[in-house]
């Protein structure tokens, strides 16, 4: 097992200096994601104009993987439509669970190493579950 595959430079960088980790003014939707297994909590706030997510921020506390994943998520989805995001999440989920991905995920592919650490998959997907809940108008979601 090669640790570097999991804790890649970019992941460590985003966990230490998370991007867009702040409250979002004038958000239209927000949802809290909770991982009861470890207590990690990530809240996502978005501004949704029609079908497009024009801005996204996150707050919360978690491990390096969940923090980096939330940080990179905010960069990956800004300006994308609901449909596009659903597709990215599906692909991302396939990536971290070791299934075939259909499209190139760009920067998100650095989470490929997670598939070798099954107990950490939920760390990587927590913020995504929160995002999908927010988009769908739900207030809370859990990885369980």
């Amino acid at each position: 097992m090669n640790l570097d595959e999991l804790y890649q430079e970019v992941i460590l960088d985003h966990s230490k200096n998370p991007r867009n980790k702040t409250e979002l003014e004038n958000f239209t939707h927000e949802a809290k994601g909770h991982n009861p297994l470890c207590g990690d909590q990530i809240s996502i706030q978005i501004i949704m104009k029609g079908e497009e997510i024009s801005d996204v921020k996150f707050t919360g506390a978690g491990c390096a993987i969940s923090t980096a994943s939330a940080s990179i998520l905010t960069e990956a989805i800004k300006g994308k439509s609901k449909n596009e995001i659903e597709k990215i999440f599906e692909n991302f989920h396939n990536l971290v669970t070791g299934n075939k991905t259909e499209e190139d995920l760009g920067k998100l592919t650095i989470f490929e190493g997670v598939q070798k650490y099954p107990v950490r998959i939920k760390c990587a997907t927590l913020s995504w579950h929160a995002l999908m809940a927010a988009i769908n108008g739900e207030k809370e979601t859990s990885t369980e």
């Binding site: 804790y7 230490k16 470890c38 207590g39 491990c63």
Partner: protein, 403 residues
């Protein structure tokens, strides 16, 4: 038996994890099993398997004798009488049994139960359930920053509404050894009965339920080198006799008609259905193993290890020990600045070091220290200074990864 030879008694310890020798330091979660326990369980199924207490045939008699013999060993181990030893699935079931059969019938609205801020969820939730049902209140004895109970507060908390107390002997996430004798004394002065959760105690320190004067005392087999699914509830005989059964079924009755059932005597009254026979036998064998080494020797060995590990880990920049009670057993909980315990757990595992990361089923303790979780190393008889050295180098490596 010299303690240095002990590792070879535990087959699971002899393996590589991620190309490194396994260093098993998650003993507060569960201990590994010595070969004598594994053989006792396997021999039972190979040679003796039969149902107990009801067969006239030879195997049934042999199985009954082995099962009851285990009960005698346990009774002796904690200085009690075999009639006061009830086999259960584990400490959790023992607490639920007492909550349902002893506490529930005597609880009225506005009555109070006292537990402490350092309890495992298993010693919180069963009390919440009966309190909710009976509109009673749960009162919490606080801890201080060192992770010790503020015993002085108990006199203020206890009153005529207090109907029961439940408290752990040793904290699973802080390692604190509580002054149980003092607490029982205070409870009894106010005529309050008390349950001691000994799940983290019996494997580390000598326990004498008579000396403690506990009304109920419980522990799990799997944390004391025995199989999972077996545990013990000790109760004072007069209390057990006045309690209604916990579950109904076979073996807990003397006679059954549709009009009236006469319950069996204790302890059988509380053992409905076919019990975990092999588990009980395994637990008896685990106690033989412990007695062979000597519980005092174990306590001394583990105390030395804990001191050695605490001193070493304290010297590492950014590491904080959570739980600094004066009297501690086996448990070393810690945090590393800016590194989440789950990342610590994963990185240490990549070096073969198995620790626990999380809230250890003690969320109120995490809230008290305002931390999401801790990393926890916990020691057992087979651990040695080499294991501690590996733990320390692994902590350093974790810090390096995040530098």
């Amino acid at each position: 038996m010299p303690l240095s030879d002990i590792k070879s008694d535990f087959p699971t310890l002899n393996q590589k994890i991620n190309d490194n020798d396994l260093i098993y330091l998650d003993n507060a979660a569960t201990t590994q099993k010595p070969i004598s326990v594994i053989n006792a369980v396997s021999d039972y199924y190979k040679k003796t398997n039969s149902n107990i207490h009801r067969g006239v045939h030879t195997l049934s008699q042999e199985a009954t004798e082995k099962y009851e013999n285990a009960r005698k060993k346990i009774a002796k181990f904690i200085n009690s009488n075999e009639k006061e030893i009830i086999f259960v699935r584990g400490a959790t079931e023992a607490i639920n049994l007492v909550a349902n059969s002893y506490v529930r019938p005597l609880l009225k609205p506005k009555d109070q139960i006292i537990i402490t801020e350092m309890e495992h969820h298993a010693n919180i939730v069963p009390w919440q359930i009966v309190c909710n049902e009976k509109e009673a209140e749960l009162k919490i004895l606080p801890i201080n920053k060192k992770g010790e109970l503020v015993i002085n507060e108990l006199e203020k908390l206890i009153n005529e509404k207090t109907k029961f107390m439940a408290i752990n002997h040793v904290s699973n996430s802080l390692g604190t050894v509580n002054n149980i004798r003092k607490i029982v004394e205070i409870a009894h002065k106010h005529n309050v009965r008390i349950l001691i959760d000994g799940a983290q105690a019996v494997q580390h320190i000598p326990v004498d339920v008579k000396k403690i004067d506990a009304d109920f005392y419980c522990f799990s087999g799997h944390k004391i080198y025995a199989p999972t699914g077996i545990g013990v509830l000790y109760g004072k005989k007069n209390l057990l006799e006045e309690m209604p059964p916990y579950q109904g079924g076979g073996d807990m009755i003397k006679s059954v008609t549709f009009e009236k059932t006469i319950y069996n005597d204790v302890p059988n009254k509380f053992e409905a259905g076919t019990p975990n026979i092999s588990g009980a036998i395994g637990l008896g064998t685990a106690i033989d193993y412990i007695l062979e080494i000597g519980i005092e020797n174990i306590a001394k060995h583990e105390a030395e290890l804990l001191n050695y590990a605490s001193e070493k880990i304290r010297k590492i920049d950014g590491v904080d020990i959570i739980g600094n009670a004066k009297d501690k057993a086996s448990v070393l909980s810690f945090t590393i600045e800016n590194i989440h315990p789950h990342d610590i757990g994963t990185i240490m595992d990549s070096q073969g070091v198995a620790i626990r990361a999380g809230n250890h089923c003690t969320q109120p303790i995490m809230d008290f220290y305002s931390i999401p979780a801790t990393a926890r190393a916990s020691f057992a008889i087979y651990n040695d200074k080499t294991d501690v050295d590996k733990l320390i180098s692994s902590v350093r490596k974790t810090i390096e990864v995040f530098r």
